[in-house]
């Protein structure tokens, strides 16, 4: 357990990386649950190294132009648009 103890500060740090705001109650609840779940994941330490033969191949196709969504279709689910563009928050 000690190895995977998770404190509130760590939950806030990960939430920041993941761009998810949390309230204090969620932070407290997640800290307890994450400690339990991550200590369960510790059993992966016992997994042997396995020679994996990846059966993956590249699937290629000709790069041809097809009809896609219209600008109107692409924009229709956006909460806000301006002059045919998505409207986002400022970058910095």
């Amino acid at each position: 357990m000690t190895e995977t103890a998770v404190d509130a500060e760590e939950v806030r740090h990960v939430a920041d990386l993941a761009r998810v705001d949390l309230d204090d109650d969620e932070v407290a609840e997640f800290a307890g649950q994450f400690a339990e779940i991550l200590s369960y994941f510790d059993e992966l330490d016992e997994v042997p190294e396995v020679e994996a033969e990846p059966d993956l191949v590249n699937v290629m196709r000709a790069d041809e132009v097809h009809d896609g969504l219209t600008q109107e279709e692409a924009l229709r689910n956006a909460p806000e648009t301006e002059d045919g563009y998505f409207k986002g928050p400022r970058v910095s």
Binding site: L17, R19, V20
Partner: protein, 424 residues
Amino acid sequence: MSADLNAFITEERIEGAGEGPLAGRTVAVKDNISTADVRTTCGSKMLADYVPPYDATVVERLKAAGATVVGKTNMDEFGMGTTTETSAFGPTRNPVDTDRVPGGSSGGSAAAVAAGDADLALGTDTGGSIRCPAAFCGVVGIKPTYGLVSRYGLVAYANSLEQVGPIAPSVREAAELLEVIAGPDEHDATTRDAGADAGYADAADGDVDGLSVGVPTQLLEGADEAVVEAFWDAVADLEARGAEYHEVSLPSLEKAVAAYYVIAMGEASSNLARFDGVRYGVSGGYEGNWNEAFARSREEGFGAEVKRRVLLGTYALSAGYHDKYYAKAQDARAWVKRDFDDALDGADVLASPTMPVLPFELGESLDDPLQMYLADANTTPVNLANLPAISVPAGEAEGLPVGLQLIGPKFGEREIVRAASALE
């Protein structure tokens, strides 16, 4: 419609071609599968108003086959759950016992079929999300081999694990629906030519004479006694019809749940990064900078289980923890694949209880996420190994349905359909 079950998020008819193998049949479609001009919510507040501008390939194929879509079914938010209780639209109830969950995450699809609100349904299965609700509701569900069915238009949760598949009252009907949706798609480069025209429904002939069934002992450990009893009764039925069984040991399966959750959460944390409230979803407003607005959108739009998985996935992939969690989970995945390949060298199919437990009571597992994850012990290994599996009703225990899971080799859907049909 059985409104009290809350099986549907949106009830809207989409008429098909009129002719074809599914003419005159109604199909319920899980709400993470895109339907042009019909809202597709994924059971999330984030997408409560999202209306796709195009059909998923499987929906195009349903329509071309003459089927009528009757609505979009309730589900755990983004497929993240085993009970359909994490939906932002409220839980679905199990038609067999309305105080119990229908299983998840495709709980609305299984409940709709079990209640007779649709002849057939589409679900999706990332770690058991078709087989679990099929087992809990007493119907049939198939998780196809990875690459048999197109994922184009499926809102992604964990790409390397998930497949769209059929839920139906009988094995033959599930196989008929599988025939319609199977086969390569230029819009999904992970689809394969294998199995495209394999005649799955014809395989439902009940002939198991000489069939060799392997029973992985690890998938019986920890299962409820009543479930194990129903399981062995079903195996005895197969024996009486000429099949033989033997026990096999697959030690890797003990690590499958942990490996599955690390991989699924890792993929989820990346896939769900697209939900920023700008192109679709709940807007985070325009106060402060880009990152602050995104974080507000996601706080507002995501439920607790989705936040939990996105955060844990971010943690498991972050610097310093990647090797400990994600790399080891990939090793475990390769080990599970190897164990299954070895076991299937000595057996035609493998059998286990689909779920180690009977359907939970509503609310029973919501406060304990780890308990809910552990209920996926028998289904998650199959997704890690990319194999096909079917859940077929195998009697009852304590008046509740028990499902039997049959696992086949890659593109061995005919074998599992045949074996399952012997139990009807």
